[in-house]
Structures are given as structure tokens and as C-alpha cells.
Amino acid sequence: MPLDIVVCVKWVPNTQIVNIDPRTGTLIREGVPSIINPHDLNAVEFGLTLKDSYGGRLTAIAMSPPSAKAGLEFLIGMGVDRAILITDRVFAGADTLATSYVLAKAIERLMPTDLIIFGQETIDSSTAHICAQTASWLKLPYIYYVIDARLEDGKKNIVVKRVLERKIEVFELPLPCLMAIAMKSNVPRPVTLSNKIKAKMENLIEVWNNEMLKLNINCVGLKGSPTVVSKSIPTPVVPRKKLKFEGTDPIEAARWLLDRLAEEGVRVI
């Protein structure tokens, strides 16, 4: 029974090298190379595995600046069938409410679909809100931390396993539904050459803007975002003292080290 699956992915700055703007308290995203949110690769792999078992089609969607095209090409390289880049200046500066609204409206255009999957959370904001909020807009059931899914009863229901710390729960959900895949729960497959060439040669990435979606501009982007950053506390920078123990005796070295720590107020008991 073929499945029509949609996977939502976010194009995120590689947060290992990102800084916080000390004035506004928000991430400085400019000039930082972006990647597909690593946890979303688990969602893509999850979708591809389902497609391998039941057949069907996997569509990736991302709301992002145009540069995400490179990331979507990468996903087509993994085996995603087509991708939709939702991009428009009016969508910029969105919080989770505005983001999920746009995603929900885009998913509505793609209906009927059987399953909409998400990563668990992102590495640049990690609210883990988007799956739940999108489901609320769509008025569909959702479930988080999924590690396995199997079709039951023809195509009407799906049986999923989800992890809660040390517990695994089994649920049955009606289709269509939304699910967020537990991060690190599988190994995303590598890209293949023929898929990458497909990504380059066939037009598999559609670009949708607001001329097409026609969403109320008061509900999207910065205008549609009630979230404010009230305060952000940067981690203090501790300058290195660059002290060096010059002796050779290990006992002396340990004593020296403890003395230095004591000077910093560290007590060893």
C-alpha cells in the first residue's frame, strides 16, 4: 500500500560555530554556513525506510531563505522524490507560531497525504514545538519520539513505537497524522551519485512564495510572531590564565595544581 509522505526539514546555521548578538540576544545567522538540521536527517531516513517497505513518495518541505536549495538537493541525493522550498521575505523572522502556520498551510496544499514527519527538534532553537503546533493548525493527531512505524489494517492506521527515556510505548494512530522522530534513532543513508545527478538535472525542487500561498501577512514572519526575546544571558568568557608548571615531580605538580585551584576558590575535600 503506497504511502504519500511529507517530511519537514529546517535549514539551520551550523551552531557549532555560531555566536549570539550581545545587543539583541538572538543568534547571528549571517555568514555562518548552514546545514540541514541533523535531527531532520533521522526524519528523512525514517520516511525513506517507510517508502522502501510500502512504496510511495517522499516530499521534503523547508521554509527558509533560498540558500536551502543546496540542502534540499542533498536530500534528493539521499532518495527524497521532490522538494518544496517555501521562501519569501514576508516569512522572515518567524517564531514557532508563524513557522508552523506557514508549514500547515503548505501541507494543506499537498493534501491528501498520509503522513507528515518532523525531526524531534532543531539544533539552533530546539523548542520541539513545530510538529505539535502544525498538527494543531491541521487539526490532526500527532506523536513525538517515534522510533518505528508499521502499517496496520490496510492503510487506515499506523502502529508506532516511541521512546520515553527507559520506556517504549506502542500507539496506533489513524492516518493522516504527524509524527516527530526521535533524534539519533537511525543512521541516515548516504547520498548516491545517481540521485545527486537527478537532483541536478531534473527540476525536482519547487519554490513556493506568498504570491502562491496567499497567507495573511499579519499571520506570518515577524508580524505573525508574538514571541519576544526578553533577556539572554551569554555564557561568561573566562580568559585562560596560561600558567605552566615547570617542574618534573608529579607530587609537586599535583600540589601546585591544588594551590592554583584554591586561589580560584575551588576547595578539594
Binding site: 548516504p190 547520498v191 545527486k196
Partner: protein, 429 residues
């Protein structure tokens, strides 16, 4: 194996370095259906070099090169220094005009690849080619993971570490004698500090080479190039010597250099923004494959051994790019003859021989041989610095030049040999 990719190309190029990108650009402009396969995530991400490129060959290949390419500074000052524990003696050449510029190879390769893409080539990154696909002794495509991709001709532009050529017995395995190892820091200083400390205008670049103590007197040398806001500082050592004589990790040699005068002062306040290492061919003509072409394939750039390495300076980007360009011309010629047989592709070798590439390779071959001898890197600095020291550091009687030279040459071999070496050296770039 999966079924072969549905798309077939006229030409498949392995590697998006200067050689591969130039071949792709030229072929795409001639109307060939070209695919370039690069294992790096982006073109340029796997490429590293010292820092200076000779411009003219690139201007011939790429339209709009001088205006569009990511050029940092035009090199207008050249300094060659001899370094010992006692001091430094430097020779400087400064000029109003310039034929070379400083650059980041990562940016330059990325630019070349983007030109190839705009000309119509398909660039696929993040894929490693595992093998050349051969049928009846003829290259018919490439293999990557479980995928096969067919093409009428394969251009091998895989760089110095030519694993594909080795796998197909086109070249023997590399030996340490044939390669040198480069290690490099990129240090951000800002335009003003660079201009002040190195005595440059914003558009003027410095190329500075040092030999002697900088590599613990091993064959090789150190280099410093000024970019717009950063400085590239590195060393190159011939691998066979390094393996035998360097008792510590090679990066420590560079670290020592960076933290010794005059560099401590010149680089003060700088921050390390990049650190890298790469092999480079050093054996000159000896490292070239016997044939640079065969049925259905051509070899270009570093993979073909087309590089001039004088120990303290390496020149390969322009040779690599131009060999890619000539390979494209050869493919066009073979195409007009109706097939890509070894015979029809042999015009590649003729084109190389007629171009500056082989002429330069041959002209520098004796210099390269000389540079792999260790005495140059020990004797020259010792004698030059020794003589100069005796000339200027005295207490009462100032010595005559000849006396000073004689004194510092004591027990250091024949003056005649040194003269011969000097002549060979001067025929360098």
C-alpha cells in the same frame, strides 16, 4: 550494483580542483555534456596550497578572470631569506608590475567550478569516485559507491594522491621520495597591520621564502604570503628527508617558526583562522606517468605530475589549469576525428609539449633535482649568514668581503660546486 544511472555524459571529470574545473569550463563552453565529480562538500573544500598563482595562463582560459576571480593581492615584493641560528640574510626584489597574485585555493577552485557550472557543466559534490569503469581496456565511465556512470571520456584530475591511477595501474604507487609535505597556517591580522608591518599598499602582495633553519636545514623551506586581511605561513619539507631526520611532529617545526623572530613580532595580535596540510609532487619529470592518455581517458594537473617544486616554492595551479584546458582541446579534436581512442587523444601530449607547461617542466627539472639535495639548505644559509655576520659584527678591524667569505666557507666544501649550484638555482622562477 544498482542499475547504471540513466544519464550518459560526453565527459566525466574526477576532481574539481584547478585542473578539473578548467577542463570542465572549457568543455562546457564547447558544447560538451560534462559532469564533474568532487568528493569535497563544496568545490575547494579539499584543496590547499601555499598562496601565489601566476595569472597569465588563467586569463587565457577564463573569460573575465582578472575582474571576477577571488584575487587577494598582486605580488609586488619577493623576498628570499637564508636563516641560521646566527641570523637572517635576505635578498629582495620589488617591482611596480606583477604577473602573479596571492589567493586562497579554496576560493579560487570554488570560483573556477562556479564558472564551469554557469557554462553548463553539471557539478556533483560530496561524491567520491572509487574506480574508473573499464571495458575491454577502454575507460567508459566511473564507479562511485553502488553507482555506475557512463561517459565517452574520463578526465582524471584527482590531484597528487592519485589513487584511481594506482588502482588502474596507470601509475605506480607514490614513494616518499616523490612527494613533499606542506603544512600551513592562515593568520588573520587585518589589512592595516599587514600593510604596516610588511610595508605594503592595500593592493600589494608579498611573497617571502625562507630556507635553512626554518625546516631544521632539511630540503624544503618556509613561505609567507600576504592576503587582503590574512597571512599564509607554512613550510614544505621533502617527505623522504622528513621521515628520516625529523624526530618530532612536523607541525612543531612550523610552530617553532611562527613563534620565533621575526615572526612573533610580525604576527603579533593575529588569530589563527585556518590550519591545513597537503602533499605535493616533487619529483618533476620523473613523477609523470609514462603516458598521460589512454583509450577513453586523460590525466591532468597534479595527478599528471605537472608541478614545479623548488623546495621553498611550489607552482602548480597555473600548470594544472592549463593542462585541463589543453585536455579539453584534445577531447574536442578527438571528437572531430570520430572516437576517443588512445591514438586520437594523443594530441594532448603534443599540445602539452608545445605549451609553456612542458617547457617549464623541462627547464626546471635540473633545479628540482638539485633542490632535493640537502647541502643547499644547510650550506647556503650557513655561508651567507656567516659571511654577513663577519662583515657587520666586528669589534675593531672591519674584514674585507673576501676574507669574511673565506672564513665562513672553512671546511664547508668546494667553492666551485657552490658557484655551479648558484647558477642552476638562479635559472629558477
Amino acid at each position: 550494483m544498482d542499475p547504471p544511472s540513466a544519464t550518459k555524459f560526453d565527459v566525466a571529470i574526477v576532481g574539481a580542483g584547478p585542473a578539473g574545473a578548467s577542463a570542465a569550463y572549457t568543455l562546457a563552453r564547447k558544447g560538451f555534456k560534462v559532469v564533474v565529480l568532487e568528493r569535497g562538500r563544496t568545490p575547494g573544500s579539499k584543496n590547499l596550497f601555499g598562496g601565489r598563482v601566476y595569472s597569465h595562463p588563467l586569463e587565457l582560459i577564463f573569460e573575465g578572470f582578472k575582474n571576477e576571480a577571488p584575487i587577494e593581492r598582486w605580488t609586488k615584493r619577493e623576498v628570499l631569506s637564508f636563516v641560521t641560528e646566527e641570523g637572517i640574510v635576505s635578498v629582495e626584489y620589488a617591482s611596480g608590475s606583477s604577473t602573479s597574485f596571492t589567493a586562497y585555493l579554496s576560493k579560487l577552485s570554488a570560483w573556477m567550478a562556479s564558472k564551469a557550472e554557469s557554462a553548463g557543466a553539471i557539478l556533483v559534490t560530496d561524491v567520491r569516485v572509487d574506480d574508473i569503469l573499464m571495458e575491454n581496456g577502454k575507460a567508459v565511465g566511473i564507479v562511485s559507491g553502488g553507482d555506475r556512470l557512463y561517459a565517452d571520456v574520463v578526465v582524471i584530475a584527482e590531484g597528487v594522491n592519485r589513487l584511481l591511477c594506482e588502482r588502474r595501474n596507470i601509475t605506480p604507487q607514490l614513494s616518499p621520495e616523490e612527494v613533499a609535505l606542506g603544512v600551513k597556517h592562515v593568520i588573520r591580522l587585518g589589512t592595516d597591520k599587514i600593510n604596516d608591518r610588511f610595508g605594503l599598499d592595500s593592493n600589494e602582495g608579498l611573497a617571502w621564502f625562507l630556507i635553512g633553519k626554518v625546516t631544521d636545514y632539511l630540503p624544503g623551506g618556509a613561505f609567507l604570503y600576504t592576503n587582503s586581511t590574512t597571512v599564509s605561513l607554512g613550510i614544505v619539507v621533502f617527505l623522504s628527508h622528513a621521515m628520516k631526520k625529523v624526530k618530532r611532529h612536523i607541525y612543531e617545526v612550523l610552530e617553532d617558526l611562527r613563534t620565533s623572530p621575526p615572526f612573533t613580532r610580525l604576527l603579533e595580535g593575529g588569530s589563527l583562522v585556518e590550519y591545513g596540510s597537503h602533499l605535493t609532487p616533487e619529483a618533476g619529470l620523473k613523477m609523470m606517468p609514462k603516458k598521460l592518455y589512454g583509450d577513453g581517458f586523460l590525466i591532468v594537473g597534479d595527478a599528471a605530475g605537472l608541478l614545479i617544486n623548488l623546495g621553498y616554492t611550489v607552482r602548480g595551479v597555473d600548470l594544472a589549469a592549463f593542462s585541463g584546458y589543453l585536455a579539453a582541446e584534445a577531447i574536442e579534436e578527438a571528437h572531430s576525428l570520430g572516437s576517443y581512442t588512445s591514438h586520437n587523444l594523443s594530441c594532448y601530449e603534443r599540445k602539452l609539449n608545445d605549451s609553456f607547461v612542458m617547457k617549464e617542466m623541462k627547464r626546471h627539472d635540473s633545479v628540482q633535482k638539485l633542490m632535493s639535495k640537502s647541502h643547499i639548505f644547510e650550506l647556503y644559509p650557513q655561508v651567507l649568514v656567516g659571511t654577513t655576520k663577519r662583515l657587520f659584527e666586528f669589534e675593531e678591524a672591519s674584514p674585507k668581503l673576501l676574507e669574511a667569505a673565506k672564513e665562513s666557507l672553512k671546511g664547508k666544501g668546494s667553492k666551485f660546486k657552490m658557484l655551479l649550484d648558484a647558477i642552476t638555482l638562479m635559472r629558477g622562477p
